[in-house]
Symmetry: C2
Subunit: 261 residues, 2 copies
């Protein structure tokens, strides 16, 4: 199975440009699963709730999601990426997964910093998509710092974590090695690059998108400011073996009788 990520610098507030940019980076290529960054349709640094409201999309009427459904059918690809989702009066920092006409929406559970002023926090159950071949778990950016999030997805059977990110801190990429070791799971982190400078604030994003294999090897990674589509062939079934030797199984050895979580 071919899996990949697209790393790029979205142009703020221009979802049409950003979608075209993704298409351009992809070209005639494809993969079975492609992960895009968090909020790749709009950029990250909204000045206020009004601006965010104007740029957010309702899943049922989203031009972006329609376009990616079409692309999904054309390329036989599962696309995953972040966008600001409007639902009634609420706005979520969300992630879509589209597989042809099928769709799963995940609303970010752990909001970072000033996102708390802009977005409602997620109310999703554990986001897992199962197409009968592979189980995909969804995560957005800051979710990484809470070990419970990926652990819950892994315990629920996820083979691959598709992690859309807009990382500004330097810790996550290395931490994902630990997450892949402790859960024996594939992790695709699609991070953005470039800078958002708006309303007197400035965020520099850290790139270094990567794919980590169960056991902690970084099997694919890229730079801190380049725009690219990269992919690699993996066997997602490797995630289903939680044994690290003939005596230790990372899930069966858990001492749920002792933990107080």
């Amino acid at each position: 199975m071919e899996v990949g990520f697209i790393q790029f610098a979205p142009k703020f507030g221009n979802s049409e440009y950003n979608t075209q940019k993704v298409l351009h980076l992809l070209g005639t290529d494809r993969a079975d699963i492609i992960v895009l960054p968090e909020l790749f349709t709009t950029g990250y640094l909204f000045k206020n709730r009004e601006e965010l409201e104007r740029l957010s999309e309702n899943v049922n009427y989203s031009v972006t999601i329609s376009k990616f459904k079409e692309l999904s059918k054309e390329k036989n690809t599962i696309f995953i990426g972040g966008f600001p989702e409007k639902s009634g009066d609420n706005i979520y920092n969300s992630q879509f997964l589209v597989d042809g006409d099928k769709i799963l929406i995940y609303r970010k559970n752990h909001l970072f910093y000033e996102e708390k002023k802009l977005f409602e926090k997620g109310n999703s159950n554990l986001p897992i998509y199962n197409n009968g071949i592979v189980k995909i778990g969804l995560m957005i950016c800051f979710d990484w710092i809470f070990p419970e999030m990926m652990r819950s997805l892994a315990l629920a059977g996820a083979d691959i974590i598709c992690h859309s990110a807009n990382l500004v801190m330097p810790y996550c990429q290395d931490a994902m090695i630990t997450r892949a070791i402790e859960n024996r799971i594939y992790i695709i982190t699609a991070n953005r690059v470039g800078k958002d400078e708006r309303g007197g604030k400035s965020y520099q994003f850290t790139g270094r998108s990567q794919i980590v294999a169960p056991g902690g090897d970084i099997i694919l990674s890229t730079g801190k400011d380049n725009e690219t589509f990269l992919k690699i062939d993996i066997d997602p079934k490797k995630s289903r073996d939680k044994n690290i030797n003939n005596s230790n199984n990372l899930f069966k050895d858990r001492r749920t009788d002792i933990y107080k979580l």
Copy 2:
């Protein structure tokens, strides 16, 4: 508060030599908390249960523990280290904490590989020692790979994790950076060095004992095969602030309504 670790190569089956070695490495120096490796009294590679039984000690009659209680009073030091503990017909891979005459025993919850053939698994509650100034959480070696273990200790209020290890894999030292970031806690890993070659088996231990600060900085570390006592001054109260900015608190932001653990 001064905290430190002793890294050395125990001589197999010779607890008197190993205790003297610790005393020699310490010399006239001291610290408030000193962590010693897992099974530092005996070495690691027991040929069989009979040999382990012969070398294990009952807490109430342990020459080693008496010696460290005495040393604790003399130097006003809390000592933490690993030993094979006999209790009735059971033998545990245990860790003592001695503070003068006070003692806390932790029995390893997550046994690694062939330890399962030799030891009973731990039946401890969460091992936390509180002397009114600092709360010390205890962990032994392979416990590191289960994020639930340190998370449980951190949620229960531990300021410092004292981690006695006999590491053979190369992953733990880096993973402890992630653990310190996700829990904002001090972590002292005292690992052994050298090799155990017995009964046709051979284990090389990886050293690189270290102290990681809340937030993930390695503030003290050493080499992969040297024997040493090292210490550093820390403020354990820094572990009590779980805020990473003015909007995010690592404990309050946990979504226990979503996790399925």
